[in-house]
């Protein structure tokens, strides 16, 4: 197989969520001396971006997105240690959790998978996460973004409580705040002082990248 055929195979098989084939192709590429970064940026990430675009258009459905992201994760499990060796720049880092009082996690998990698929490092704190836990984990992991998820109109006010907790802990300026969940609106995200809101998982990934770029541009590392 030529390297171009391997890249095309990675793209095509990620698109349809064929995890075993994606894994085999990654290993075949590595054995043949291919650059891990090339496989990631020229095949896997474009494929998952296409998955996201199809989902946004309504051409792809939840299970298709999940299996594509899973195929991508399988590839990343192999590539991540190699990418770390070559010092490839991290796309971004994310601490994520469903707010206190809320146990819904499907939307949050979808966003996590899409973020990881796009090359983010994600620390998932799970569901029913208290404001003080968010503060503690942000201090520990120092992510660029924290994501609050809420599925109930009655747990959405925890966004504000979490942001207040970040302010009280003096770390609000250190982290970008994104919010999301079925009942959340842009208007509500603005009202609680979040930095970003997205209506679905692939938009969330795009927004996360944009927000990080803006922040990195504003604050030279």
């Amino acid at each position: 197989m030529t390297h171009d055929e391997i890249l095309q195979g990675l793209y095509d098989n990620t698109l349809v969520g064929n995890a075993p084939e994606v894994k085999d192709l990654v290993n075949a590429g590595l054995e043949d001396g291919m650059d891990p970064e090339k496989m990631l940026y020229d095949a896997l990430i474009p494929s998952l971006e296409e998955v996201g675009a199809r989902f946004e258009r309504g051409d792809y459905f939840v299970p298709e997105m999940l299996i594509a992201a899973r195929a991508m994760q399988g590839a990343l499990d192999i590539l991540r240690p190699l990418l770390a060796e070559t010092g490839a720049q991290q796309v971004g880092t994310f601490v994520m959790g469903t707010v206190k009082g809320d146990v819904h996690d499907i939307g949050k998990n979808l966003v996590n998978i899409m973020l990881e698929g796009a090359g983010f490092q994600v620390w998932d704190l799970g569901v029913n996460v208290a404001p003080e836990t968010f503060v503690e984990k942000i201090k520990e992991h120092k992510p660029e973004i924290v994501g609050f998820s809420a599925f109930l109109t009655t747990t959405m006010p925890m966004f504000k409580a979490n942001i207040n907790a970040l302010e009280k802990a003096g770390i609000r300026d250190q982290v970008i705040v994104m919010v999301g969940g079925a009942p959340v609106t842009q208007e509500y995200a603005d009202a609680v002082g979040a930095d970003g809101y997205a209506a679905d998982a692939s938009t969330a990934v795009r927004m996360a990248k944009d927000l990080i770029q803006k922040k990195r541009a504003a604050v030279p590392a």
Binding site: V62, L152, A191
Partner: protein
């Protein structure tokens, strides 16, 4: 075991030998941006449309929760308004305890309260209110997390029924929600649900309801999936669902299953519904 809920003039019985109880889910602002904006402006005029579209429902769920609106006041107004528009009993739906209380205090009849979880703080806060108003209550089979083993969901259900008993609420007034989750995100979601339904039916014998539309989240052909899901769940012991009562396909699947399972003797309701449709078609 029969759960009775009532409006001023109508009585609905939920039970294993009864026709399936359809609870209309439409009066809920989740995912409805214009309804959210109306609620924020204190405008409840949408309720008249929502009620009129859910004529197939045995019970209507009423949820007017929006974090930018005064949910307590909205509930206080919405309940009498809906009761003036329809005589079906209501399911008062909020996770704000004061909103549940406000709704119950103006409701005429015996309401169903949606809902309490197995968390101690929620049980202690909500069950006394349910008991004081002589209402029935939906108990979710989850506590701090959502258990992914049927046995653990059964344990939570047992706890809810037991604590309800401590507050003087009999088991027939507790309707357990075994938690229907999206099959598109978890291939085992429905088999796990069915197993939980069977366990609760056999071990507790209480009535059960669920948010049926969750099952088809993110998938094409939602009505067909919903219809198939309800038929399967019904045949394993689910006695009610909070569901899309506006959709004919889903509603008819439920009524067909009632007939097939012997809960609509000689198909009287099934045939009457057919005649009503014929008459409506001729009239238009």
């Amino acid at each position: 075991m029969d759960t009775v809920i009532q409006s001023r003039s109508r009585r609905v019985v939920i039970g294993g030998e009864q026709p399936f109880c359809i609870i209309g889910e439409r009066i809920n602002p989740t995912g409805r941006k214009s309804f959210q904006a109306q609620l924020q402006a204190g405008d409840l005029s949408q309720l008249e449309i929502d009620v009129s579209q859910q004529g197939a429902a045995d019970v209507l769920d009423v949820n007017v929760g929006d974090p930018l609106a005064d949910e307590i006041e909205l509930m206080r107004q919405a309940i009498p308004l809906v009761q003036s528009l329809t005589d079906v009993p209501l399911c008062i739906d909020s996770s704000v305890i004061e909103a549940l209380e406000a709704g119950l205090s103006v409701y005429e009849g015996k309401a169903l309260v949606n809902s309490v979880t197995g968390e101690d703080a929620r049980l202690e806060a909500i069950l006394p209110i349910v008991a004081r108003h002589g209402a029935a209550v939906i108990g979710l089979a989850n506590a701090e997390d959502i258990p992914m083993q049927p046995e653990r969901r059964l344990e939570v259900a047992k706890k809810v029924v037991s604590v309800a008993g401590d507050y003087g609420i009999p088991p027939e007034d507790v309707v357990i929600d075994p938690l229907a989750m999206p099959v598109g995100a978890e291939p085992r979601a429905v088999t796990l649900f069915i197993e939980t339904v069977r366990l609760i039916r056999d071990e507790l014998g209480v009535n059960m309801t669920c948010g049926a539309s969750n099952t088809s989240f993110g998938l094409p052909g939602r009505h067909t999936l919903g219809a198939a899901f309800l038929a399967v769940a019904q045949s394993h012991g689910l006695t009610s669902a909070i569901m899309d009562a506006r959709n004919t396909e889903t509603v008819e699947a439920v009524r067909a299953t009632d007939f097939l399972l012997g809960h609509d003797e000689w198909g009287a309701r099934w045939i009457a519904n057919h005649r009503a449709k014929q008459a409506a078609a001729q009239a238009s």
